[in-house]
Symmetry: C2
Subunit: 346 residues, 2 copies
């Protein structure tokens, strides 16, 4: 591991709505591992955002009422400084010379952005998946700066099962010869490793019951070519193939490795020695913890553990257990359940 500091990193972000004079309506969104800061469409960029149904005028996170900021994570590759960026000291890409990245660093980059925007306090910090971890890290590193927090399908620490999945995803990329110990040509990235990692991602983001309902044993329309006895056969295999094709080329492999690892390393108990002692630093007035019953990457028990742990230190804690079928990814797709849950908080 390289431990070190970044000199003047760039942090990419987008905002919607207007900050009021009292600074009482600012909301900061941290993202999951792969999205950019484009959470919703805007005048400058009318393309749909990754949470278009949730953020906008009249939507649950109403940009007519709130000043919404979404930040591209430090270490990512959509404008913020990460392993694919140029190191100003060497004029070369950081690649694996990028220092080891922690979820806390991503949270602190968000806080630095607030300073830059002269936003003193937040109405709410929120995020889902890695973004939920980051929102929690923000609330712990900067007690009092946010009044409320929403953590969706996240956790106070990574458990060995999700570490194992992410470790294997990273190995798939690192074992791809095209990775070249991080020194790949950006025009010839480790595409095979990224494809495999994305497929395992999709398997771990959804749920068995959703797929049984959705695909059953349907065969793929484009049958396996006769010369490939192990080609696509079932509809579920085509589905994974389509997702892998979309992902490769859109995300930098080294950035993926760093962000994935940051999630493994996250553990609230690192400060103080126990979850309870770690959470004692928090300075929130309200917290909403949302979990999904079919999520096996961040299982509902972990959401419950977090909500339970917060009750000692936060006056108003709500825990919502959603019966969505789509597993970890439910917050992106089961909007009929997630919209009212988030709307009620705001």
């Amino acid at each position: 591991m390289v431990r070190g500091e970044l000199s003047s990193p760039t942090i990419a972000y987008e905002t919607w709505g207007t900050l009021n004079a009292e600074h009482s309506n600012a909301v900061l969104i941290f993202t999951g591992l792969s999205p950019s800061s484009h959470v919703a469409s805007s005048g400058e960029d009318p393309s749909p955002g990754w949470w278009e149904d949730m953020v906008g005028p009249g939507k649950p996170l109403d940009t007519n009422r709130y000043f919404v900021i979404c930040v591209n994570s430090l270490g990512s590759c959509f404008g913020s400084t990460g392993p694919a960026s140029i190191n100003p000291a060497t004029k070369d890409h950081y690649r694996l010379s990028f220092p080891v990245l922690c979820v806390e660093d991503i949270a602190n980059a968000g806080a630095a952005l607030l300073d830059h925007l002269q936003v003193s306090t937040l109405h709410t910090v929120l995020g889902a998946s890695m973004g939920g971890m980051t929102a929690l890290a923000f609330a712990l590193q900067h007690p009092g700066r946010a009044q409320g927090m929403i953590s969706i399908s996240a956790a106070a620490r990574s458990q060995p099962f999700s570490i194992a999945i992410r470790s294997l995803q990273r190995e798939m990329i690192r074992r791809d010869e095209a990775w070249k110990a991080g020194n790949y040509d950006f025009d010839a990235p480790p595409a095979i490793g990224m494809r495999l990692a994305r497929k395992l991602g999709m398997i771990s983001y959804r749920s068995a019951s959703e797929w049984t309902e959705r695909f059953g044993r349907e065969r793929a329309l484009d049958e396996a070519p006769r010369n490939d006895p192990f080609g696509l056969d079932f509809e579920v295999e085509s589905y994974l193939e389509a997702h892998a094709n979309k992902f490769v080329g859109s995300f930098d492999a080294n950035c993926y490795l760093y962000l994935s690892r940051a999630m493994d390393l996250f553990d609230v108990a690192d400060q103080g020695g126990s979850l309870d002692k770690g959470l004692a630093r928090i300075g929130l007035q309200r917290a909403l913890i949302i979990g999904v019953e079919t999520d096996f990457l961040f299982p509902i028990e972990q959401q419950e553990e977090l909500a339970q742990g917060l009750t000692s230190y936060v006056a108003d804690v709500e825990f919502m257990r959603l019966a969505s079928l789509q597993g970890h990814d439910s917050f992106l797709v089961d909007m009929d359940r997630f919209r009212p849950a988030v709307a009620r908080f705001f």
Copy 2:
């Protein structure tokens, strides 16, 4: 796909105990994807078998009372004919010219073995995982030949979630350049693909709760070398590494591909159009279906569906739901629960 026939395949097997004159004490065991026919130690081979605690004198499957036969699956690489075997017609290895393999073919090879051994009827046919599917296929293809059946952590058909996992495992192997479209040097097999596939196997064979209890966030003893920022860090990563090391070199890659695919293709409903119509062919008097609550590869709902479906056609059906923590692999490790379950049947 190659559809075809094998001329005079070899079927490897081992037996324990003695067949009685009435042929009322023969038991046939089909295996999961990776084991050999060495289910238990014997005079000829005193090394411990893969189900040593279950099979032997005075054990739940008591070889003092029963004539136990365990067969190496057709398509495997421990003595039975498979893709790694020599095709007598060409004097070369079959490799991908091996015909497409179905679970029914493995079952029929077991029936042919019984003919060879002059065993007319079975007291019980049994198996776990793929072996449970094969036991079911045997009972459906050869109604009346077995009186009883035990299916452990298996299913009447593969669901898309488990198909997705196996499909990805196969892709890991096929994407390894060393695979060479199946034409690898046996001394230089696609070791990277096999390692990755085995790790995903281990992830899918166990359960998140077992690993949380067993590993928590313990760090690996042999820390990551400083020049590899993504090396082993957590204990769970070392565990997967050890399993991958053990597997590579011990199992043939093409055999793995064929057997894995056979599981995807298995669907009792292929005969007759529905699970119920498929099961109608069965000719059993007793069936015991055992499932494990933490198994997410062959989830408990599938075991229940099978048991429920059998009640229309089998007089005595028992369904056992075990609370083992070790997921799909529980039948190999949670012997305190599995021993009494199997003993009671016999």
